[in-house]
């Protein structure tokens, strides 16, 4: 059993270069796992920062927040935030979150995952959860490729991009995520880039407060892979590019917000509608059909 206790000790000690000077957001992070694995100038850290701020602004008690993520660079977010967090299988964060939300509707369930995870392998789950209007917030950090595995073509990759599985340039037409989300019934759809930190935070606050399936897409730089392969510089160069080339058009029609490789990006809050959530619809329906025999489902 001494081997066990040694391993116990090893698993409890902080990482070697952990520094205890504190930042206002440190309570929200698992400081014993810092520094995080994301590259220098990666946009995922910025989104986590905005998410932390959004939670603070919403004043939702952190004990009730659950973060579920899938596999990938953005999927590692669950491991760094100090709330009940679940790092599930590739593409299946949304059904896991569905099960969790339905079993305990008092939880605030947030799915924080990447574009490949949510819309490619997880596409079926995304469209069905949106259709059902399960009350959850999905934050999709879109870096246009499968970064964790070395930079492969994703279903959001703009045409012409050179990636490891499209070495001569991609010829596939990518998803337009806001259009997809709106068409399957998401009640709140917004897209921002990593540069638009305040807008991102406000969108996250609105998405968290909104009952129903809300979707926030964040266009983030991937300096080590996507930007490098397309010869677009590093994350800072990309943020400068977003600054020059993004149009904020709140309320734009989602049909027109396609992303092309070196073209302007349309960002903004596109959809904000009302629809009954899954549990509300279920309760209302059963009350009507079953009458007094039915007690509202509360978890």
């Amino acid at each position: 059993m001494s081997v066990l206790s040694e391993l116990q000790k090893a698993s409890l000690s902080p990482t070697p270069d952990f520094h205890p000077e504190s930042h206002p957001m440190d309570d929200f992070l698992r400081m014993d796992r810092m520094p995080h694995i994301w590259c220098s100038t990666c946009g995922i850290g910025v989104s986590v920062n905005c998410f932390a701020k959004a939670l603070e602004k919403c004043q939702i008690p952190l004990d009730q927040v659950v973060v579920v993520s899938g596999i990938g660079c953005t999927g590692r977010v669950a491991g760094y935030v100090k709330v009940d967090s679940f790092h599930t299988t590739h593409g299946r964060a949304i059904p896991f979150a569905t099960g969790m939300k339905l079993a305990n509707p008092k939880l605030k369930v947030v799915v924080f995952s990447g574009d490949g995870d949510i819309i490619a392998i997880g596409g079926n789950h995304f469209i069905n959860a949106a259709r059902r209007n399960i009350d959850m917030t999905v934050i999709c950090v879109n870096n246009f490729n499968y970064a964790m595995t070395g930079g492969q073509l994703a279903s959001t990759t703009p045409e012409g991009s050179v990636l490891s599985t499209s070495p001569f340039g991609s010829y596939e037409f990518p998803f337009n995520l806001p259009f997809l989300a709106e068409s399957v019934g998401a009640v709140y759809v917004a897209r921002w880039t990593s540069l638009h930190v305040y807008n991102q935070t406000v969108s996250m606050v609105e998405a968290l407060k909104k009952p129903g399936f809300s979707f926030v897409e964040v266009i983030a730089p991937c300096p080590t892979i996507f930007e490098r392969q397309q010869k677009m510089g590093d994350g800072l160069d990309r943020l400068r590019w977003y600054c020059e080339n993004s149009d904020i058009r709140n309320g734009a029609s989602t049909k027109d917000v396609d992303i092309r490789l070196r073209d302007r990006i349309v960002v903004g809050k596109f959809v904000d509608v009302e629809r009954p959530t899954y549990i509300d619809a279920m309760n209302a329906h059963y009350r009507e059909r079953l009458g007094a025999k039915y007690k509202d489902y509360e978890g």
Partner: protein, 92 residues
């Protein structure tokens, strides 16, 4: 003729620009340069020194110009920089 003087409203405090102090947690920095680029008053510059990981953290060039807007704290991916208001302790 006496010079007509504009009546100033009585009793209103003069609006003051807040002043913030910047705290840089150098060992966390990965040298991305976001804070340096996007500070509205451009008070940060890339320093010449290295942190333990080999990156150049930012340093404060014009500390008197910080207005506690908090943009550097929001845009930093590493949670390595923040500001606070000297008088009230507010952290935006």
């Amino acid at each position: 003729m006496p010079v007509r003087r504009r009546e100033k409203p009585f009793g209103f405090p003069k609006p003051e620009t807040p002043h913030g102090e910047v705290v840089i947690l150098e060992e966390r920095c990965k040298g991305c340069g976001f804070c340096i680029e996007y500070c509205p008053h451009q008070i940060l510059v890339l320093s010449k020194k290295f942190n333990l990981k080999g990156y150049h953290p930012p340093e404060i060039d014009k500390p008197e110009l910080c207005v506690n807007c908090g943009f550097c704290r929001m845009i930093c991916p590493e949670f390595a920089i923040y500001t606070y208001e000297l008088k009230t302790g507010e952290k935006p």
